[in-house]
Amino acid sequence: MLSALLVMTGIALAIGAALGYAAVRFRVEGDPLVEKIDAILPQTQCGQCGYPGCKPYAQAIAGGEAEINQCPPGGEEGIRKLADLLGREFKPLSEAHGVEKPKAVAVIDEQICIGCTLCIQACPVDAIVGAAKQMHTVVDKLCTGCELCVAPCPVDCISMVTQAETVQTWKWRYPVVPLRVEGKRAA
C-alpha cells in the first residue's frame, strides 16, 4: 500500500515541476484577438450593444462576457462573421439590443437648427460640421448612422433618412426563387 502512495506522489511531483517550468517558459501577453473582432464590427460606436463603443464591445466578446449577437448595425452578416472567427454557434440578433435597419444617414433640418453644437459633441466620428450659433450640417459620407446625435438635439431637427440605392451602389438580387410551394404541405 505504501509503495502505491510513494509511486503516485513521485509521479505528481515530477509532473508538477515540468508544468511549473513550462508555465514560465510559455508566458503569453496581450490578446491579438480583440483587434480581429474589432475589425469585424461596423465602428458606428453607437452603444446599442450596451458597451460605450466598438472596442469595449470587442474586448467584452474576447473576454467572453458579451454575446456575439448584440450589434444591430453589424446585422446578421456581422454575427455570421463573428461566429465564424470565434468558432461559436450562430445566434440571430437579440431584439433587446435593437433591430437591423437599412443604412440611414442623419440629416439636419436647416430651418429649425439653432446652432447649439450639442450634436457636434455627441457625434463619435466628427461627421457634423458647424460652430456655435452657426448653421450645422451632417456630412453624409462620414455619417455612420449611429443616431447618437438625434437625442441631444434640443429642437429635434435631426432625422434619420435611409440612403436610396444609386446606379453605382445597386446590388444584383439573390437569384434563388423560393421553391417551397406555399400552403401545399403533405396532409
Binding site: 465602428q43 463603443g53 466620428v125 466628427d126 462620414l142 455612420t144 444609386t166 453605382q168 437569384p175
Partner: protein, 628 residues
C-alpha cells in the same frame, strides 16, 4: 498573306449560332437627328462627370457639357447643338431601372459644331495627349467603357505589343465588322496614334476568321504598318484576356494590368475614336450600333449618344411581339428597364427580344456537379464550386475559388444541363462583396476619426488642466505678491488674504469685475456690412427698446442678469414690479400681429377670444406667480 505568327489557345469557350449575316448586308447608315437627347453623366467605369452647364444654356455640337471628375472618369459632350432643357435624374441604360443624373438637350436642328482644333500629335507630350483624350471623352467601346487615357499609360517594362481587338465573337453584333470594312484607314491611323502614346513596338490586329471582308479591308489598309491575324472563331475569343492569350500566349491574371506584361488591348471602335479626337479634334459623341434580333431589317447605324433606343430601333422595323430590348449581345447583354433608355457609349448593339427569339428561362434544376461548366469556362474556373458557395452566401470561400477572375461571359450558363442562371449568382456574389468592401472602408475611416476625436478630447482636457494649473499658480503668486504690497489696480483688495477663504472671495470679485467689463467692451457683433433694410430693422428695434425700457438702473442689471449675484430680497421685489410693468406696456404697444388678411371664420374666433379676455380682465387680478 497573314504573317506566320504562332497562335496559342485558351481552354473552354463555346460555338453559338453567329446570326451575323443579316446585319452586314447594308452599309452603316447615319441615324436621323432626334428632337430630344438625354446624355447621362455616368458613362464610364469610375466616377460620373460633373455638369458644366445649367438649364437654359445654349450649347454647340461637340461642346464639353460634363467635366471628368478625378483620375478614373471622362468628359461628356453635347451630341448636337441646342438648348439644355434640364439636368436631373432620367431613366438609364442600366438593368436596375434606377434613374441617374443626366443632361436633357433639345436639338435646334442646326448641327452647328463648336470650334474643333486638331492636335499636333508629334509636338505634344504623352501626358498632354492622355488629358486631351480624357477631355474628348474617349472610352473603351468594346462594352467595358474603361477610360482609355488610363489604359494608355505604359507599364514598368515598356509596351511590346498593341493589340487591336476586331474579334467581335458575340452573336448578332456586327458593329466592329462593318466599322472595319468601311473605315479601316481611320482605325489604322488611331492605332498608330495609340502606338505612339504607348511607345509600343508592334501593332497586331486580331479578327475572327468568320469575317473575311473585314480581314481583307484591314490588310489592305495596314500594309506593313500592322500585322492582321485571323483568329479561330470561338466565343469568347473577343475577351481582352483571351485575345491577348491567343495572339501572344501571355495570360494576364485578374487584378493585374496587362501593361505590366508589355501588352495592351483596344477595341477597333476605340482606335477610330482616338483618330477622330486627335486628328480632327472631334470628341466621342456618336458610335456605330447594331440593331438586330426581332426586327425586319437588321442593320448598323451611326447613332448620336443620348438618342432614345426606341427611335433607333424604329428605323429597323421592329416586329410587334417585341417584349424588351437587350443592350449588347445575347451572351453578355443587359435587359433594358424600358424602351426610352438613351443610347450610351457602351451600347454596341440593341437586340429587340421576343419570347420566340430568346425563350424565357427554363426552370432551374438542382446542380448535379457534372463539370460541363468547368470544361466550358475560358477563365479555367470551377463554376460549380463558385455556384455552391455563392448560393450558400459564403463569399469568403467564393473568393478563394477566384470569384473575381470570372469575366461573366455566360459560357457556363449556356452549357449547364440543369439550366441554372450561374452568371446571376456570380453577379450577386460580386456586388455583395463590393458592398462589404465599401462598408469596410467606411468603417475603418470611422474608426480612425473616432480614435482621433478621443485623442483630441484628451489633448484639450490636458491643455485646459494645464492652463487652469498655470492660472492657479499665477493667482497664487499674485496673492502672495499682494501680501507684500497693496496692489494699485482697481482690484477690490481686502485685508491680507492669508486664508483660502479670502483668496476665494478675491477670485469671485475678479470674475465679477471681468463680467461687468465684458458687455461694455463687447462690440455689437457682425452689424457692419449689412444691407440697408436690415439696418432699418435694427434701428426700429433699438427705438422700441429705448421707448420700453424703465429707469436705466434695472436695464443694465437685466441684460447681464445671468451672472449677477442676487443683491438681496428687497431688490428682487423691485425687479418683479419692473418686469410686470414692462410686460403690460409691451402688450399695449405690441401691434396686433398679422390679423389682416385672415378668413372671416378666424376673425370671428379672434373676436370671441378678445371678448373673453376683456371679461377676464374685469375679474380681481390673480396673485402674481413666484418667478421661476
Amino acid at each position: 498573306m497573314t504573317a506566320l505568327r504562332k497562335l496559342f489557345s485558351f481552354n473552354g469557350g463555346i460555338k453559338p449560332e453567329p446570326h451575323k449575316a443579316a446585319s452586314t448586308v447594308e452599309p452603316i447608315a447615319v441615324a436621323p437627328l432626334p428632337a430630344r437627347l438625354v446624355v447621362p453623366l455616368w458613362q464610364s467605369t469610375g466616377a460620373a462627370a460633373l455638369p458644366l452647364v445649367q438649364a437654359g444654356d445654349r450649347v454647340l455640337k461637340g461642346q464639353r457639357i460634363g467635366a471628368a471628375d478625378g483620375g478614373l472618369s471622362v468628359a461628356v459632350h453635347a451630341p448636337t447643338s441646342g438648348t439644355v432643357l434640364q439636368i436631373g435624374p432620367q431613366p438609364m441604360a442600366h438593368p436596375s431601372g434606377l434613374l441617374a443624373p443626366a443632361i436633357v438637350l433639345a436639338a435646334d436642328g442646326e448641327e452647328r459644331w463648336a470650334d474643333l482644333e486638331p492636335v499636333n500629335v508629334a509636338g505634344t507630350p504623352p501626358d498632354a495627349l492622355r488629358d486631351l483624350l480624357r477631355d474628348a471623352g474617349i472610352v473603351g467601346l468594346g462594352g467595358a467603357v474603361f477610360p482609355s487615357h488610363q489604359k494608355l499609360r505604359p507599364g514598368p517594362h515598356g509596351t511590346r505589343t498593341l493589340i487591336i481587338n476586331g474579334a467581335e465573337c458575340e452573336p448578332f453584333i456586327t458593329c466592329d465588322d462593318m466599322l472595319m470594312r468601311e473605315r479601316a484607314a481611320g482605325i489604322l491611323r488611331g492605332a498608330a496614334l495609340m502606338k505612339h502614346i504607348l511607345q509600343a513596338r508592334e501593332i497586331v490586329i486580331g479578327i475572327e476568321d468568320n469575317k473575311p471582308e473585314a480581314l481583307a479591308a484591314m490588310q489592305a489598309a495596314a500594309g506593313s504598318e500592322a500585322e492582321v491575324v485571323a483568329v479561330p472563331t470561338r466565343y469568347p475569343a473577343g475577351g481582352a484576356k483571351q485575345l491577348i492569350r491567343v495572339l501572344t500566349g501571355i495570360e494576364v491574371p485578374h487584378g493585374r494590368r496587362s501593361t505590366d506584361y508589355g501588352v495592351q488591348c483596344f477595341n477597333v471602335g476605340t482606335a477610330f475614336a482616338v483618330h477622330q479626337a486627335l486628328d480632327l479634334g472631334r470628341p466621342l459623341i456618336s458610335r456605330v450600333v447594331t440593331i438586330a434580333g426581332n426586327v425586319a431589317r437588321p442593320r448598323n447605324y451611326d447613332v448620336l449618344i443620348g438618342t432614345a433606343m426606341r427611335e433607333v430601333v424604329a428605323l429597323a422595323g421592329p416586329q410587334p411581339d417585341t417584349d424588351r430590348y437587350i443592350m449588347g449581345g445575347p451572351m453578355m447583354g443587359l435587359p433594358m428597364p424600358d424602351f426610352d433608355a438613351p443610347v450610351v457609349k457602351a451600347t454596341n448593339a440593341i437586340l429587340a427580344s421576343s419570347p420566340a427569339l430568346f425563350p424565357p428561362a427554363p426552370p432551374e434544376q438542382p446542380c448535379i456537379r457534372c463539370g460541363d461548366c468547368a470544361r466550358a469556362c475560358p477563365a479555367d474556373l470551377q463554376p460549380l464550386e463558385l455556384y455552391w458557395f455563392s448560393r450558400a452566401r459564403n463569399f469568403g470561400k467564393a473568393q478563394e475559388y477566384h470569384l473575381f477572375d470570372c469575366i461573366e461571359c455566360g459560357c457556363c450558363a449556356y452549357v449547364c444541363p440543369a439550366h441554372i442562371p450561374l452568371v446571376d449568382y456570380y453577379r450577386y456574389a460580386k456586388s455583395e462583396v463590393w458592398a462589404h468592401e465599401r462598408e469596410k472602408e467606411a468603417a475603418d475611416a470611422a474608426r480612425q476619426r473616432f480614435e482621433f476625436r478621443n485623442f483630441r478630447q484628451e489633448r484639450e482636457e490636458s491643455e485646459k488642466a494645464a492652463k487652469l494649473a498655470a492660472r492657479n499658480a499665477a493667482a497664487a503668486a499674485a496673492a502672495r505678491a499682494s501680501a507684500d504690497k497693496p496692489l494699485p489696480t482697481g482690484e477690490p483688495a481686502d485685508a491680507a488674504p492669508s486664508s483660502t477663504e479670502d483668496k476665494k472671495k478675491a477670485l469671485i470679485a475678479a470674475a465679477l469685475a471681468r463680467a461687468q467689463a465684458q458687455p461694455a467692451a463687447a462690440p455689437p457683433r457682425n452689424t457692419d456690412n449689412l444691407s440697408a433694410d436690415t439696418q432699418a430693422e435694427i434701428a426700429a428695434i433699438e427705438t422700441r427698446r429705448q421707448q420700453v425700457s424703465p429707469p436705466a438702473g434695472d436695464d443694465a442689471g437685466e441684460t447681464s442678469a445671468t451672472s449677477a449675484a442676487a443683491p438681496g430680497t428687497a431688490d428682487k421685489k423691485a425687479l418683479i414690479a419692473a418686469a410686470m410693468a414692462r410686460a403690460q406696456a409691451q402688450q399695449a404697444a405690441a401691434p396686433p400681429r398679422n390679423t389682416d388678411k385672415l378668413s372671416p371664420a378666424t376673425q370671428a374666433e379672434i373676436a370671441a377670444i378678445e371678448a373673453r379676455r376683456q371679461q377676464a380682465a374685469s375679474l380681481p387680478p390673480a396673485p402674481p406667480e413666484p418667478p421661476k
